[in-house]
Amino acid sequence: MQGNRNALKVAMVSVLTAVVVVFTMVVRIPTARGYLNLCDVAICFIAFTFGPWSAFIAAGLGTALADLISGYAQWAPISFVVHGLEGLLVALIVQKKGDIAVSLGRKALAAVVCIATVSLGYFALSALFITTVSVSAAEIPGNIAQSAVGFALGLVVSAAVKRAYPPVSSLAW
């Protein structure tokens, strides 16, 4: 029985990792300053639906793999840490206790934590290891916009998927 559960966990994390890679690489919305990718939508969806550990592994691994495939290998460790933490923290905040619905306050807190983790995480780590403080600071507005849009869409998509495919609720761990 334990083996069955382990196989399900491995299958779930693998598919969710692939989902994060696809959302990062395939979906790109052009804006005036470049592109918005939807990795945060996938991460927030996983955090809302599957719980902290799935969110941590799938978000970290998915974004790191997307960086490796796209030719930005040097960003992969940073993406792993930042997005992994983003998924873990958001999932921990919005984790349901029994049948009680997640309050609006907790959702707002999760949104703030999500935006802060992505923008400050990328700023601090890229300034420390890859670029300069000023270059990293210039990326902050884009990261804030991307994570805010990602959080809002992730919330909506999570509710829509739970309605369209109810068995998804039983997969969380």
């Binding site: 692939a18 696809v22 869409l153």
Partner: protein, 256 residues
């Protein structure tokens, strides 16, 4: 959607053991942060690019450079604001645009950025993914973790294809031109597409879990491996070379 970063070739980097190559990549990334002169840093970056290009071709080097060019442009644009102290090189009226120290720091950061990027992409351009996974497992990466990565790579094309088909079918139902819509409207329209794509992906989880069980996942017996790294010879020499190359670079930069 291309998920394969490997470029076929016959150069010496292709014959280099993946485990030693992984070690060399990490040591070179550390080397770029050592306090060496700008001249030595530039020479080493040029050497890395030359050696890499002789293995993977100039096209790969150019493509890697193009992918990081926006970030390099940012570094040049922000150069006047990074370092204000030092000997002025270019001034506009009373405003010092570039100082000697500022230029040196910008060049150092750009060289480091190009070096790290090129070393990392070179590993994945000269090593097939299953050999990278075998090398990571040799460094004691858990079997489950490598299985997750392998399965994710298998599922990426399937999910990407489903996503494209769903996007196309949703687009065909819309009368309004996609390009004329505002960003907010476009994001709102994405919700049904994303929901459908996610449901398709999630439905494959139980099937994948079942096939893993049928293949014996989770059983106690020691598993066999189809792919092996036995084809690589002189592994010890490769490991020694991986350690010696960064050390020689560092010693040369200290002595001259």
């Amino acid at each position: 959607m291309t998920t394969n970063t490997y470029i076929a070739g016959k150069g010496w980097l292709y014959r280099f053991d993946p485990r030693a190559k992984l070690l060399l990549m990490i040591l070179m990334c550390i080397w770029f942060f050592l306090p060496v002169s700008l001249l030595h840093l530039g020479i080493v970056v040029t050497l890395v690019v030359l050696v890499g290009s002789s293995n993977t071709g100039w096209h790969h080097a150019w493509r890697t450079f193009c992918s990081i060019s926006p970030m390099l442009l940012f570094m040049v644009l922000f150069m006047p604001f990074n370092v204000r102290e030092g000997v002025p090189l270019i001034t506009i009226g009373r405003f010092i645009l570039i100082t000697n120290e500022g230029l040196e720091q910008a060049l150092r950061l750009m060289s480091r950025f190009i070096g790290i990027t090129y070393v990392c992409t070179l590993l994945f351009a000269t090593t097939v993914m299953h050999e990278v996974m075998l090398a990571l497992r040799w460094y004691h990466l858990p079997y489950k973790a490598s299985l997750v990565v392998t399965l994710a790579f298998t599922y990426i094309p399937f999910i990407a294809d489903s996503f494209s088909q769903i996007t196309e079918s949703h687009r065909l139902r819309e009368a309004e031109d996609e390009q004329k819509k505002k960003v907010g409207h476009r994001l709102k329209d994405l919700v049904p597409t994303l929901t459908s794509a996610l449901v398709v992906a999630l439905r494959s989880i139980p099937n994948l879990a079942m096939s893993l069980e049928m293949r014996g996942f989770g059983r106690e017996e020691k598993r066999t491996s189809f792919h092996r790294l036995d084809a690589y010879h002189h592994v010890f020499i490769h490991f020694v070379l991986s350690c010696i190359i960064p050390i020689v670079f560092w010693l040369v930069s200290m002595l001259f």
